[in-house]
Symmetry: C2
Subunit: 594 residues, 2 copies
């Protein structure tokens, strides 16, 4: 047996002075003074200074000379106090150093492809190609630890509440619903395919039918979308479901999870209870179903103020059934060009225009449209938006959704904090059952297994019917969503009918699921939290890739391993599939991980 | 909000008598006496008797009549003592019952496709098709709970030891090594493929390079083999790895895991330390690298006894470099036909023959070959095998491996307990680095990233070189295996060379991994435990499918959902692949989940 260390270097303190220790880790930094090498030795516990005096001959001069950054070494030596004036109060081990008596190179390191320094980032493709080096940086190591801690905290909450962890299959049947499935050809049934799950939705509902009353899983899910900057082809969600549950049971569990995770990762308490806001209120006040409530700037309705206005842009909109909305962006001190840019942004967001006002020191209102408005109207706006001198007010007159979503985006652009030091959770409740599709039909707002609040309402006015679904939002990001599910196969059939799915289609796609509902299905409800997003916010990272150990690029490639790659003809033959001739023809180079 | 229950029925006890409760669950059994219905109401906590007297009108007569097995209901009522003489000491709730005052059918159940009774099993295909009903059976529910408990226990041990849980990718590059990869066509890179991982082996080694000193993951893995009864296309392993680790560190961690899991699932202590046995000893004494040590019958070497024998079958074998081995099977009382059957079994196992002996009451030895053997030889065998009167002795003279593996299998056939009430863990250590292939080459005995005990020995006599790999065995089943890994790229190159993998091939297949080893790779070691097998043994199940929530059949199909299935032409077109014409031609029926 080989022993590489007797202590973790980052744990050494002044009470260890005088102890003989063996340490192992990586050379994080080396400075030579008067022939003596001072090295920061890094291991998972932290960093400690080790001092190599070649006159004490801990290793050959060649070895000592060769020691570069990221060599993996093992040293023996005595812990001693650092000389006066050289202690470092910023380091946990800053009072001590280890005088090296013996040194072994466990593994040399070639010249690094980039500096492992948190202060500047290498190009991301390069970081991913050498991810095993990138992850040695303190920021990335902290992200990995935070992710592990967050997931452990989730489990603790759910274990305490007697949830069962159940693993659902990841080779499932493809259901032509929602996003594209990733497919896996079957060898034993050539020409047939498994799909990788977009979520364990139907299996967790089956578990409820099976009498598993509390289920959770940290589930790997797959989504074959055109990549956006913050999406990955595989991602992780905390998936949970409970029987004999209603919405409050789910939200109570989520609050405990949010609280436990933040406590363990950030060591702070979140404010409880987590506020709840209806979908309608969120849209009206923030122009979005995932409001960032860390800052104010709520959108307000100004229709009454302008009901009798001479200003045609307002009254015309109101007459057409539109609305006038605005918010107080506070002191912004924008130039004319700045306002022009905002107006342009608003137009790009679909609004016909944007009206800005600035409250001057004397209480008057400066605005390109001031001359069209009465003093009462201007005073009304100032009052409605609680405006003080110096505040910038932004107003849009348009169809409701256009007005609030446009203002909501401007609100974010002007007010949203750049970091996540503050954490504001929020539940959005009472989502609609359906949302209109481009072709005038209806699509599920959540998914087609979501229970309506009222079955009759859903049948009679599906466009406005409210569902029993809810989202969890953190700092303006949707962490996840859930719902009370339909447990009555008749209601499930009605939802499919409203969605324009015929009985035959429903049977072909979901027949096996519909049948399961017919054997005493308990009322049930659940949720799924996106782990990647949650951890990235807790870690103040803008991109989920920073909290994933080995993420893929936006085109789904792994620059480290070369995945995806080409495969041998024989492998495909066994699967009963082939690469299409036109694709092959487009390959000019020979097969390989090109 | 709807409340479905105020208590879990299975938790009611005599101290609850007089309490008003609301319960929800399933009708497990119904008996009618004198117009009163006695029902066992089952929920996740257990079963309680509820009594419905129609004269108390808790529900309409039609509803009461309709209540069948597995209806999901909610009842309100008073907990009361059962009448004298009707208490049931076998039930946790056997002293009480609930007098129902109100009853709601939450969800009716159609006539069941099979009885949910642990005493007899329905046909497995039928059980899998209705898995959501099968899992309601107490035995299956207990298996799900045990699996969740076992995994939680593993995590507790590893969390306490400051392991990080890290999720490695499941869309990886295909490496033409070991079993077949399951492939996933990429849409963004048409004609290219991801593979699903057979294990996280290389990624966990990369995590060690990355400075994650303690890693674990409950990892879903994939193996596209021709199915055997106890294999599944997707399976779960506890995967772990540590840096600056040697074999003892791994085995110490595994022992803590085994102990923690058995304690939590079975509530017993395992005997510690877990014994260690070399691969050579295991083979010699038990004829296998996964000995079941719950019973004796060790194989012994009898060469010395027969060195000078007149019996040509023995001396001839010895002269040819073979060996004579035997074991004491204890009192077996086999008929002549029984011995003939054993002999036939031995031949099927590859042995040239089998010699049996029975020690008679008077100490003499009965055997077809007794007449060819001297009294000293017979007495020598009796002494060497510690035989007493009535014992059956079985002997094979053959080439070493044939002799011991044949005897090892007979030993299992005659002695292995049918259940797993007793648990005997064992570590097998000192496996060979390589094993011979059919074509005279060498293949890795473990995998090609396993460190040899001695690099020079590996180079000079690869056939006999010992590796730093080890297995964990429970009751004769291999729970998992691991090794100290190669952390020196030069040694890794030498292993590839001995395996007949050229530098160019090694570079093409594993170049990215070999490069990672060049940046200060710490010495590291690890292991993987098969969760499915471990839990099945703890639960006394013969087949891992019984401890998997939604397993597939031996041909990889899911009778419940119909996976795998056919998919639309357009889906494949986007992926750049197509089902081969000959496969399509073989489909007579129209597309669907045929």
């Amino acid at each position: 047996m080989t022993t590489y260390r007797t202590r973790h270097g980052g744990t050494l303190r002044s009470e260890d002075i005088g102890r003989e220790v063996q340490l192992a880790g990586w050379v994080a930094r080396r400075r030579d003074h008067g022939g003596v090498a001072f090295m920061d030795l890094r291991d998972a516990s932290g960093i400690v200074q080790v001092v190599v005096n070649p006159e004490k001959a801990p290793a050959s001069p060649e070895v000592l000379r060769s020691l570069r950054s990221e060599f993996c070494i093992s040293v023996t030596g005595m812990v001693r106090a650092r000389p006066e004036g050289t202690t470092n109060p910023d380091m946990a081990t800053g009072e001590v150093e280890v005088a090296v008596a013996g040194l072994d190179v466990l593994s040399p390191a070639e010249v690094l492809p980039f500096q492992l320094d948190d202060r500047f980032d290498a190009d991301e493709a390069r970081r991913l190609k050498y991810r095993y080096l990138d992850l040695r940086r303190e920021r990335m190591a902290a992200n990995l630890r935070a992710r592990s801690t967050a997931i452990r905290a989730m489990r603790h909450v759910l274990d305490d509440r007697e949830f069962l962890e159940v693993e659902t299959p990841t080779l499932v049947v493809s259901t032509p619903e929602g996003a594209r499935d990733m497919l896996v050809p079957s060898r034993l049934r050539p020409g047939q395919f498994y799909a990788l799950p977009q979520s364990p939705q139907l299996f967790k509902q089956l578990l409820m039918v099976a009498g598993v009353e509390r289920y959770y899983q940290i589930a790997r899910c797959y989504r074959d979308e055109d990549f956006r900057s913050d999406r990955q082809v595989e991602f992780t969600q905390l998936d949970l479901e409970g029987s004999f549950w209603d919405q409050d049971d789910v939200l109570d569990t989520l609050e405990a999870i949010a609280s436990g995770v933040v406590k363990d990762v950030r060591d702070i308490e979140i404010s409880r209870p987590i506020p709840r806001m209806t979908y309608d209120d969120a849209l009206a006040m923030y122009g979005t179903d995932k409001p960032d409530v860390r800052f104010g700037m709520e959108i307000r309705k100004l229709d009454n103020i302008f009901a009798q206005s001479e200003f045609r842009a307002f009254t015309g909109t109101l007459a057409d059934g539109g609305t006038v909305r605005g918010f107080n962006a506070g002191p912004q001190e924008l130039s004319r060009a700045g306002f022009d840019k905002l107006t342009e942004d608003a137009r790009e967001l679909g609004a016909k225009g944007l009206i800005w006002m600035v409250v001057e020191d004397d209480g008057s209102v400066r605005s390109p449209v001031a001359k069209f408005l009465s003093d009462e109207e201007l005073a009304g706006v100032v009052a409605a938006l609680d405006a003080a001198s110096g505040d910038t007010l932004l107003i849009v007159a348009d169809e409701f959704r256009t007005a609030v979503t446009g203002l909501g985006q401007l609100r974010l652009d002007l007010g949203q904090p750049g970091n996540h030091d503050e954490l504001e959770f929020l539940f959005i409740v009472d989502f609609p059952v359906f949302e209109p599709t481009a072709d005038g039909g209806l699509a599920p707002a959540h998914h087609p297994f979501t229970a309506p609040l009222d079955v009759d309402e859903m049948r009679n006015s599906p466009e406005t019917a409210v569902s029993r679904s809810y989202d969890m939002v953190l700092n303006g990001a949707e962490l996840g969503s859930g719902s009370v599910r339909i447990h009555d196969p008749e209601v499930q059939g009605q939802v499919f009918e409203i969605l324009g799915i015929s009985k035959e289609q429903a049977e072909a796609r979901f027949g096996w699921f519909m049948e399961a509902l017919r054997y005493g299905t308990p009322p049930h409800a659940g949720f799924a939290i996106g782990v990647d997003r949650f951890v990235s916010i807790l870690q103040n990272e803008q991109n989920i890739r920073e909290v994933m150990p080995f993420p893929k690029t936006q085109t789904g490639a792994d620059p480290l391993t070369g995945a995806p790659g080409r495969v041998e003809e024989e492998q495909l033959e066994e699967l009963g599939v082939d690469v299409r001739p036109e694709v092959k023809a487009a390959w000019l180079e020979p097969p390989g991980n090109a």
